[in-house]
């Protein structure tokens, strides 16, 4: 399926798509999850992948970053076939997680600094690396907590740390798997504003969402999956992505539908 070229990728045509997935099939165990998915994301686009639980949307993004091997089809990142792709510092990945904590405490800064490994193979943190981590933490409003333990954070703050970790890579392409899952409205707003900033400086974004929520104004295009197939690729659907889908959980951030972020009235 050919994608719509968004208004923002206005540069002259010959450019390679950032993500090009063609006829992708994949299975988890014995279950076929993707049955021939086409997904093209061009430079500067913000594409939301929508669908009910089990529709394959998460598997689709995980296959794009190589977490799920494709059993068929083709994948190119930045014009390079996936097998030969090595420029990981161009990608910031936010896996689907409810927590950033492990069995040992770690500070917010330590977790976010892991993102710099995409750029500093030998792991020395130079001044520029520290500055990038600080900028990433500031973008999601977590700088005041930099030295706090992630174990002490709320669910929404965990998600902000995971996004800061991806932003610390200073990527051209952000891939996020359900970044809004289990995140309250106030935290969703922080994430939306971080994303808005990234988009304004030209980042390309592919994200899995359950519903558009406060991100709706940012989305250029929505791809809706059902049962491992693309059933919609175009402008964000009015209701299709949200209420028409079976099994969506009723988080209702409708107050944020206009482009303006919520002001302090609601939050303080």
């Amino acid at each position: 399926m050919e994608s719509t070229v968004s208004a923002k990728s206005g540069e002259p045509g010959a450019e390679q798509p950032v993500i090009s997935l063609r006829g992708a099939t994949a299975s988890l165990g014995s279950r076929t999850v993707l049955r021939g998915v086409d997904l093209t994301v061009r430079r500067g686009e913000v594409v939301a992948l929508l669908g009910a639980n089990g529709s394959g949307k998460s598997t689709a993004v995980r296959s794009v970053v190589g977490q799920v091997p494709l059993s068929g089809g083709e994948l190119e990142l930045f014009g390079t076939p996936f097998k030969r792709f090595r420029q990981w510092s161009r990608i910031g990945y936010v896996p689907q997680r409810t927590t950033a904590a492990g069995g040992v405490p770690a500070t917010v800064r330590e977790v976010a600094s892991a993102g710099r490994l995409a750029r500093t193979r030998f792991g020395f943190l130079r001044k520029a690396d520290r500055a990038a981590v600080d900028r990433a933490l500031a973008l999601v409003d977590m700088l005041p907590y930099a030295e706090a333990s992630v174990n002490a954070l709320s669910g929404g703050q965990h998600q902000r740390v995971l996004i800061a970790r991806a932003l610390a890579v200073e990527p051209e392409l952000l891939i996020m798997d359900e970044p809004m899952a289990g995140v309250d409205l106030a935290n969703q707003e922080v994430l939306a504003s971080a994303l808005r900033q990234q988009v304004s400086v030209g980042a390309t974004v592919l994200l899995v969402l359950h519903e558009l929520g406060p991100l709706e104004p940012l989305i250029d295009r929505a791809v809706v999956l059902r049962d491992g197939c693309v059933v919609h690729d175009g402008p964000p659907p009015e209701a299709v992505g949200q209420h028409a889908l079976p099994g969506h959980d009723h988080v209702h951030p409708h107050a944020a539908h206009d482009a303006e972020p919520l002001r302090t009235g609601l939050l303080s």
Partner: protein, 288 residues
């Protein structure tokens, strides 16, 4: 300082210091990825190596290292496959290693299960000069890996999926962790013993995190605690007739309990401060 005079005690203290540093150094990563039991499994498997060393009349330390590495790599492969039957495969490996060790040692000329005992629980009188050399070489390897690659290993143990997308060679690093854990087990075997080595990978880390907020801080404090109790335990068994591993582990548990008691009010205060801080910050402003 009378305990410093005998040569065997000097060797035992060097070995104890190296155990004290290496066990929590790798243990912190194992605990981080909630794999604390791995050290225990390797310890069981290494018993076959020790017995093989006796049987073939080569060095038990190097033979144990070899077998432990094979076992650890096997465990890592089972783990990374993520099969549901992995549990059972691990059990087979653990108990196969232990049973194999007991079987083989009894087949060795003049060998009996009693030979294994000092390897199971540690003993300060059995650290031979060539053991000290072997332990020192292995310990240097463990320290080089756990300190030199700390940021990479932290990333892999904290979130394997993310680490992969930063382009880190995750599979190679996982195998390196397994090999390093195996090497640590054989470093620790003379002083702490194969059945108790896992305790020194886990308990100092658990004790340290009662006080710490960060990963590197936990790593450093765990090494400090472990080094202290390893030396103290070794000295204790110079005066008290007992396996050194038992004394060291009991001391470590003592430190853990004391720090738990001390830290409870601290944690409460910290949680309160965090709550207060989050109230202030959420209300601050939402950036456009």
């Amino acid at each position: 300082m009378e305990f410093l005079t005998p040569a065997f005690m000097q060797r035992a203290l060097i070995a104890a210091a190296l155990v004290g540093i290496t066990a929590p150094a790798i243990g912190t990563y194992l605990v981080q990825r909630r794999q604390a039991v791995m050290g225990d499994g390797i310890g069981h498997v290494a018993m076959t190596g020790v017995a093989l060393g006796f049987f073939l009349q080569t060095s038990p330390v190097w033979m144990a290292t070899l077998v432990a590495i094979v076992g650890a790599v096997g465990m890592e492969l089972i783990r990374s496959r993520g099969r549901t039957s992995g549990d059972i495969a691990l059990a087979v490996l653990f108990y196969g290693g232990m049973a194999g060790g007991v079987m083989i040692i009894n087949m060795a000329p003049g060998g009996s299960t009693a030979n294994l005992i000092s390897y199971m629980f540690g003993s300060i009188t059995t650290v031979a000069p060539e053991d000290v050399t072997a332990i020192a070489i292995l310990a240097v390897f463990v320290i080089a890996v756990t300190v030199g690659l700390r940021r990479q290993l932290f990333a892999v143990c904290q979130d394997e999926e993310f680490a992969k997308v930063t382009g880190l060679p995750v599979r190679a690093l996982n195998l390196l962790i397994a090999v390093t854990a195996a090497v640590t087990v054989t470093v620790a075997m003379r002083i702490v013993g194969l059945l108790l080595v896992s305790a020194m990978m886990v308990i100092p880390v658990a004790a340290a995190q009662r006080l710490t907020r960060g990963f590197m801080a936990t790593l450093a404090l765990a090494i400090g605690i472990s080094l202290t109790v390893s030396l103290a335990g070794t000295v204790t068994t110079y005066y008290v007739e007992a396996p050194s591993g038992a004394a060291i582990v009991l001391l470590a548990i003592g430190v853990f309990l004391v720090l738990s008691l001390v830290s409870a009010p601290l944690a409460r205060r910290r949680a309160k401060a965090a709550r207060a801080a989050s109230e202030v910050c959420t209300g601050d402003d939402v950036k456009v």
